[in-house]
């Protein structure tokens, strides 16, 4: 009976908390590089910041651009509302194609504001470990071979924008391509 009461109390307090912790990066440290080819220790580099993160591959022409564009809209909205201390992150799960140079070019051609937005890539084993930890799936299901012999892959992948708090705890996952900007901005305000 006591146990039941405790359970009820715990559930009640969990309900009261607006954004429960849903996951974390498992306390591990991952070596990645950013779009400038600088070594980055992830998620350590994000410590103390609220993080809006999506998972992409730049050869994705239809869904990821929607997600990336939504990241831009969220960033613009936060800027307008003078909400600071939020870092935007796009992690590639196709690091063999998405080199720092490709990511730099991607950000440039899409006129992205990199003042508080970093693109991350690295060894495939490392990016695979990160996406596995947070439950993002990315499976190549198709490919194209060019005249020059280069081969690119298309992934079936989780369409995700993820919000984490200043302690690196994941608080909410959204569908990246269809996220409601008002919703995530409201959630970010809750974490401030």
């Amino acid at each position: 009976m006591k146990r039941l009461l405790l359970f009820v109390l715990l559930s009640f307090s969990a309900c009261k908390e607006k954004l429960p912790v849903v996951d974390d990066f498992g306390g591990a440290h991952y070596n990645l590089v950013n779009q400038n080819n600088q070594q980055v220790l992830f998620p350590d580099i994000l410590k103390g910041k609220i993080v809006v993160m999506n998972y992409i591959f730049t050869n994705c022409p239809d869904i990821c651009p929607l997600s990336t564009n939504n990241m831009r809209l969220i960033q613009q909205r936060l800027k307008k509302e003078k909400i600071e201390n939020v870092q935007f992150v796009s992690l590639s799960f196709d690091p063999e194609f998405d080199t720092p140079a490709v990511l730099t070019k991607f950000a440039e051609i899409h006129s992205l504001d990199l003042s508080n937005w970093m693109f991350l890539t690295g060894n495939k084993s490392v990016t695979d470990a990160i996406i596995k930890k947070v439950g993002v799936l990315a499976v190549p299901n198709d490919s194209t071979v060019f005249k020059d012999g280069r081969k690119i892959y298309y992934y079936v992948h989780t369409d995700r924008i993820q919000l984490s708090d200043a302690d690196g705890k994941i608080r909410k996952n959204y569908k990246g391509s269809t996220i409601n900007v008002d919703e995530i901005v409201g959630d970010i305000k809750n974490l401030l």
Partner: protein, 150 residues
């Protein structure tokens, strides 16, 4: 209401509508409008979107597309798998039913421009040709932008 008034109203209506038609190939019941494409870097990809209107009483079929801006041009379709996963696949043709409108839009049908031969920048335009089974090749000019209305 008297008959001559109705007649004048009818003529006026028809005339206005005749002159407000977009300029198109009059043989073809197919029109393509609101054409846009995503920016993309050289060696990256882009996607082309548009609205096809078939005013004819016969269905038509999109068989493919061409553009000198990319090494490979294919018609694709994005699809949802399970709850929150997305993928895309090539489609060999897309039917456009008689008297109907079909949208190529993000998350659905798109013409994929694979391995861009040069940078395709926002604010510029891009030429392509959409190939129909009956209407033949229809040229389009796409506005390059991140999203319509941005």
């Amino acid at each position: 209401m008297n008959k001559s008034f109705l007649l004048i109203a009818a003529i006026t209506f028809v005339t206005i509508n005749l002159f407000s038609q977009p300029i198109t190939n009059h043989q073809s019941p197919i029109t393509i409008k609101d054409v846009w494409a995503r920016p993309g870097a050289k060696n990256a990809n882009s996607a082309l979107y548009f609205v096809v209107q078939n005013n004819g009483s016969k269905a038509d079929t999109i068989l493919g597309a061409k553009s000198k801006y990319a090494e490979i041009v294919e018609v694709h379709e994005s699809f949802k798998r399970d709850n929150d996963r997305m993928g895309m696949r090539q489609v060999k043709f897309v039917a456009v039913a008689a008297n109907s409108k079909l949208e190529f839009k993000p998350g659905g049908f798109h013409v994929m421009l694979i391995n861009l031969l040069k940078d395709v920048k926002a604010g510029t335009s891009l030429d392509a040709t959409i190939n129909f089974k009956f209407a033949g090749k229809i040229k389009v000019k796409a506005v390059v932008q991140e999203m319509p209305g941005m």
